[in-house]
């Protein structure tokens, strides 16, 4: 792998983070409303504070959050904070920091999303490979494909709502909400707790996996069909190779390449869907945290989550970019 390729990919990662952070900073400030003032006013009203004190309080808070300085100073300040992983405080849960709140929620999301995406990708790609191979059993194309394709058209969370209603509410097989049973104190060294988490995670995971398999299967099938038209497949068959060798080492191996590219492009899309799944299941991840922050107008938390998630996706894409040349030896020679 060549250094300039790695550097270029890393540069793209930096641009993603920079763009997201900058948007995150400027867009809210373009808005006529001042989120802090709005929030405080709201709290003051509901708390029955005196009108007269609010102005000073807002001032005090604005100074604390640095909102009274000129825009460029705020922007520099903002970057200074970011570089030092200072994501400000939550307005609602002050004095908790955004970082500590995210630290709690992020592992849940990464766990759910990582496992489901990987499983969906592997199962879908495998099914797609079989569907696009003339020697494979026909029932996969005839009976498995149509329902999978139908599911792939439906948003994850809609499928989640259906599963939740059928299996949790009606059949009562699975718990209805949360990441673990209410009242339990998380204890990752206890097997019982893991079991509890697994039960809670199964339905959210299933709604992502079931809906995503069709997408990967469809893409892989198309690539398998394309691959079989390639000259190297004809020559490989003429080499007297066994069906299994042809399938795995020649067809699947090559059809996999665009799938991996597609995985890198789909991460963001998958995450968008997963956020809503978490909300439907009240899963204690980033999505639910984001939903609560939006509802509560907790604007620093919202910002922090969005930036954190975009950075994570950027890292994941960067890792995939690093893996790709191992799969495809041509890559550093093409326009790197």
């Amino acid at each position: 792998m060549r250094a300039d390729y790695v550097l270029k990919r890393f540069g793209i990662f930096l641009i993603i983070v920079w763009a997201a952070a900058t948007l995150n900073f400027f867009l809210p400030r373009l808005s006529p409303q001042n989120p802090v003032r709005e929030k405080l006013t709201q709290q003051a009203l509901s708390g029955g504070y005196l009108q007269s004190g609010i102005q000073e309080m807002v001032k005090e808070y604005e100074a604390k959050f640095g909102l009274d300085k000129p825009l460029w100073a705020q922007y520099l300040n903002y970057w200074d904070d970011l570089v030092h992983f200072q994501f400000n405080y939550s307005i609602v849960s002050y004095p908790r920091t955004v970082l500590s709140m995210m630290g709690e929620a992020l592992p849940w999301t990464i766990g759910l999303l990582g496992v489901t995406t990987l499983l969906a990708f592997l199962i879908g790609t495998f099914l797609g490979a079989l569907m696009g191979w003339p020697g494979a059993p026909k029932f996969i194309s005839n009976y498995l494909l149509p329902p999978l394709l139908t599911l792939s058209a439906i948003p994850y969370y809609v499928l989640g709502l259906v599963l939740l209603y059928v299996f949790a509410f009606q059949a009562k097989i699975f718990p209805i909400f949360g990441g673990y049973a209410a009242g339990v104190i998380p204890n990752w060294s206890s097997l019982a707790f893991w079991w509890d988490v697994a039960q809670h995670a199964l339905l959210p995971a299933l709604s992502i996996i079931l809906a995503a398999i069709g997408f990967w299967a469809l893409g892989m099938r198309a690539m398998m069909v394309t691959t079989q038209g390639e000259d190297y497949m004809i020559f490989a068959e003429a080499k007297g190779l066994k069906g299994s060798t042809l399938f795995l080492r020649y067809a699947v191996r090559n059809a996999l390449l665009p799938q991996v590219t597609s995985l890198a492009l789909q991460l963001g899309h998958i995450l968008s869907g997963a956020v809503l799944v978490e909300i439907v299941f009240s899963f204690p991840g980033i999505g639910t945290m984001l939903y609560q922050a939006i509802r509560a107008n907790d604007y620093f938390v919202t910002q922090g989550i969005i930036l954190g998630v975009i950075t994570s996706i950027g890292i994941a894409t960067f890792i995939l970019d690093l893996i790709y040349p191992i799969l495809d030896p041509r890559i550093t020679y093409r326009r790197a």
């Binding site: 300039d4 270029k8 326009r335 790197a336």
Partner: protein
């Protein structure tokens, strides 16, 4: 001929085209290097540009047609730089210089019938006042290239054969009555039995309509068949140039010899000579030396010292090889001095092959 260079129909002056080499791009390819050539419209001639893949022949075609810009040097139409031409000049350039492409299927827009490629130039250049006149014009050129309009018009491209499609393209070029046609591998994708008909049509354009042709090809045999003069390109530079009779039948440059010796002649009695041809070269030759040195059987130390100039070995040919460094040097922009004019027009005495060789060795 050189004094008319000022007003040559189309002229390339020290044209170099480099691909890649951008900020993030380490692959830099010199497709064409310091190429100069003037094409006069009178007398109409056929000049073959022969080379293998990577020789720069297609790049040359695109540059001459104004479909690509050169990295350095300029292409002039009647003395005006293509890059700085007014709209009117472009229109006149488009009429005077036309094209026939390699793939006789790709040149047709699948959305339209065959008629589209014929009626578009008629419309765009106001060649006809009415629909009937336009139709008559189209039918006329189709007849000229040996096609029956009723079997050609109103059809979709895939309903015609490769030979028919290519002859329609010849008709399209003809409809504008150009003075020069650049034909880029016009028969390489056509079956042998139909190839002759297309070549015949091209020759007819030249003889009956006085159109000059630049015939770009990898195939020495058809180049020999159709052209008066030939330019052999190797990796973007001219290896040998001159009268086609001389260059093809008594090649001087070791590369041309290799090319001619590799032609699979359709004659079982004359099979390839026993000696093995030059080795396959893997690496590209960089720096200032002969580009062919790594494959050349006659290479000596002098070949590593610099790029050979074009040495004019007799009045009708020149080769860019140090084997001939005793001969006078021909400047790049004077290359066309060695061209013979079409004999059937001028009645110029054609140098007979043996005389040519005697002059070269003498």
């Amino acid at each position: 001929m050189t004094e008319t260079a000022q007003s040559a129909l189309l002229e390339a002056r020290h044209v170099t085209k480099i691909f890649g080499g951008g900020l993030f791009d380490k692959t830099r390819t010199i497709a064409l290097e310091d190429f100069s050539m003037a094409i006069e419209s009178e007398p109409p001639s056929i000049t073959a540009v022969v080379g293998e893949s990577g020789s720069g022949k297609t790049t040359l075609a695109r540059l001459l047609l104004g479909l690509a810009d050169s990295t350095s040097g300029e292409v002039l139409y009647k003395g005006k730089n293509l890059r700085r031409m007014s709209g009117d000049d472009w229109r006149s350039f488009r009429r005077d210089v036309q094209v026939i492409f390699q793939d006789p299927f790709e040149v047709y827009n699948p959305f339209y019938k065959v008629d589209h490629v014929l009626t578009t130039p008629v419309e765009k250049f106001n060649l006809a006042k009415s629909k009937q006149e336009s139709r008559a014009l189209v039918e006329d050129v189709l007849h000229t290239v040996g096609l029956r309009p009723e079997e050609t018009l109103g059809r979709y491209p895939h309903q015609l054969s490769g030979g028919q499609r290519q002859r329609v393209m010849v008709a399209r070029a003809l409809i504008l009555k150009p003075r020069l046609i650049v034909a880029d591998e016009p028969v390489s994708m056509i079956d042998a039995s139909l190839r002759a008909t297309v070549l015949g049509s091209l020759k007819q354009l030249n003889q009956d309509f006085g159109i000059s042709i630049i015939y770009i090809t990898h195939d020495l045999t058809t180049a020999y068949q159709i052209s008066d003069n030939i330019i052999v390109l190797y990796r973007g530079s001219v290896a040998e140039v001159g009268d086609v009779e001389l260059v093809v039948r008594q090649p001087q440059h070791p590369y041309t010899r290799l090319l001619v010796g590799s032609i699979p002649l359709p004659d079982p009695e004359r099979r390839w000579a026993a000696e093995a041809p030059a080795a396959l070269s893997v690496k590209r030759v960089d720096g200032r030396r002969c580009k062919f040195v790594d494959r050349c059987p006659s290479a000596t130390d002098v070949c590593l010292t610099g790029v050979p100039a074009l040495f004019q070995t007799n009045s009708y040919r020149a080769a860019a090889c140090f084997l001939y460094q005793g001969s006078p040097v021909l400047k790049a922009e004077e290359m066309d001095r060695v061209f013979v004019e079409a004999p059937e027009r001028r009645g110029v005495r054609r140098p007979d092959a043996d005389g040519g060789r005697a002059a070269a060795t003498g």
